[in-house]
Symmetry: C2
DNA sequence: ATGAAAGCGCTAACAG
DNA sequence: CTGTTAGCGCTTTCAT
């Protein structure tokens, strides 16, 4: 192993100077810098991460905790977070909770707390109160809405506004009977709740009243549930002419159900999803959707952690990432 | 932060003894151990990972490099690897290459080499020769077959035998005209090649000759490709009465195509997949498949790394994990 | 602009 | 069975 001192000896300087070069410090004479860099290259020097971490009191590791990594939305978000964090010198550890409260709890308290400098957490089962009562000193930032705005930093998108835009787009296209697919009364999920709110608000603005039989509940956000819920909507005979789905996965399941029923999208039924997952760009027809700015979500989360690690102890922040309506073939 | 010395002072022993307790060393008097443990709990002591790593010359981190994490097979394998490695005291960093050769190369050489103690690598684009020519001292173990058995440790399953079993199962069920779906001539993928070999061998044993028009090629292992390839097989009019698919994803796509064509599975066409992914347990009908022992794959890979890190410099090993045929509704 | 040196918290060799 | 202590390689204060 090549150490700082080896490079120093090779370049004929002190290790202090080599360290300065490695860490891009100012105040190193250009000639010295060049000489040191040449030695670094010649010897193939790589800083020892463990030693650096010990000295700095940091591990350089962040944890990204998500319910499931094999869902298009989270895997996309994870991939972006990893890439963006990398540019910033962080390494991201991805943890999957399967929505299990016990595992969420274990990852949050202790367990990893010595290993990572910060945590980006997309909770599923844990309540806002429990999250807020965390003792650990490791900074944490939450992804997604949570009822009652807990005293913890979190990054969100304007779900109410986005849902409203989606529905207004359908209304603008001449659709008069729009259903919502993805309501989650049982799960008490705040994100779903907000999208439902936006849906109703759009109807209200258009002078329509919302109807309970036009809000299809689901028990998960998976494709199969979208298929099931849509099939039920169609089974009544009194079918809507457009459906706003709370996720692209649900929308793709719904799309299949519409086709299975011998109807056409968007002619008979227009469809709008949420998330902008890859599959929606290749479905037939392609899927209109709300695209949250995932890069921005990752950037904001990292920004908060960086600030907190730098000692920022201002009150918990709520950061909103932008989104946009992407109009494609299904509407 | 609570340090070893704080615990030592609190318990009235030396840090050596505390270290012994923390590391589960033998030769600590039960009474002493209890007292020290009490102090650890009372103070909430957590070992400093960076210091330990520096001292041990290890990071405690392993990298798992896969083409894509959002594929059911790899996400399942990754989840198991993470869990099993955890029991062993390792933390696993998951890296996705998207099958991109440049990214594979970067992850393999340098980049992370200072950060992890070992690498479990499931290559996609890189050739065996290139993998073998790696200079890095960090031990690596490859997942999956590679032509020419490169001088690198790897963990495989008996793809030829497994494929043969799958086809023999179909033959035993009275199927006489069995197609193979998933051939990859263009990609030069060794795994696909071996499954093709097993398919042909089973036919040969049954006294049948293989036919080029019964081997459907694909350009990826995704569901959509399975759908496309199956649709083409059906379009000829001369349809087979069973299809052995080289992955469950392909099989699920194929299943859809059969249903779309107004045919029934398994009555008109029997289907067998490969991988035993979750979805195959819930499809209609459920999917018969070859189930590689993923836990065992992870265990073997970790075993090799552990041995190599312990100084084992014997010639490269090829370890074979078991598999079994899981018969379900589709055959 | 560069050098000397302390010390981050831990493990393990050495001593008893 | 337990104590003492030397570093692991690096960053950074203090000095020049």
């Amino acid at each position: 192993m090549v150490r700082l001192r080896d490079v120093a000896a090779h370049a004929g300087v002190s290790i202090r100077t080599v360290s300065n070069v490695v860490n891009d410090f100012q105040y190193v004479a250009p000639s010295t810098r060049a000489r040191v860099q040449a030695s670094i290259d010649a010897l193939g020097y790589r800083p020892n991460v463990a030693a650096r971490n010990l000295r700095r009191g940091r591990t350089g590791l962040l944890a990204l905790v998500v319910p499931e990594i094999d869902s298009p939305y989270f895997s996309d978000l994870a991939a972006r977070t990893v890439r963006i964090a990398e540019d910033d010198g962080w390494t991201v550890l991805i943890d999957q909770t399967d929505g299990d409260a016990g595992r969420e709890r274990r990852l949050l308290h202790g367990e990893r707390s010595q290993l990572v400098d910060g945590v980006i957490f997309s909770p599923w089962s844990m309540s806002a109160e429990e999250l807020a009562s965390r003792q650990d000193a490791t900074p944490i930032v939450l992804l997604g809405e949570h009822a009652g705005a807990p005293p913890v930093d979190h990054v969100v998108i304007d779900n109410v506004g986005a849902a409203q835009e989606a529905v207004e787009h359908l209304l603008a296209g001449g659709r008069a009977d729009i259903a919502a697919l993805g309501v989650q009364p049982a799960l008490g999920n705040e994100t779903a709740h907000q999208r439902q709110l936006g849906y109703r608000r759009a109807l209200s603005v258009a002078g329509q009243a919302w109807r309970a039989d036009r809000e299809a509940p689901v028990t998960s956000l998976h494709r199969a549930e979208g298929h099931r819920a849509m099939s039920e909507l169609l089974a009544t005979g009194d079918r809507p002419d457009a459906v706003f789905c709370f996720s692209d996965q649900l929308a793709l399941g719904a799309l299949r159900a519409v086709v299975d029923a011998g109807l056409r999208v968007p002619e008979d039924i227009a469809l709008v999803g949420f998330d902008d997952i890859e599959d929606g760009r290749y479905s037939i027809p392609t899927l209109t959707t709300i695209a949250p700015d995932k890069d921005r979500i990752a950037e904001l989360a990292l920004q908060v952690l960086r600030d907190r690690l730098a000692g920022d102890d201002s009150p918990a922040r709520v950061l909103t990432a932008p989104h946009r309506l992407v109009i494609r073939g299904s509407s």
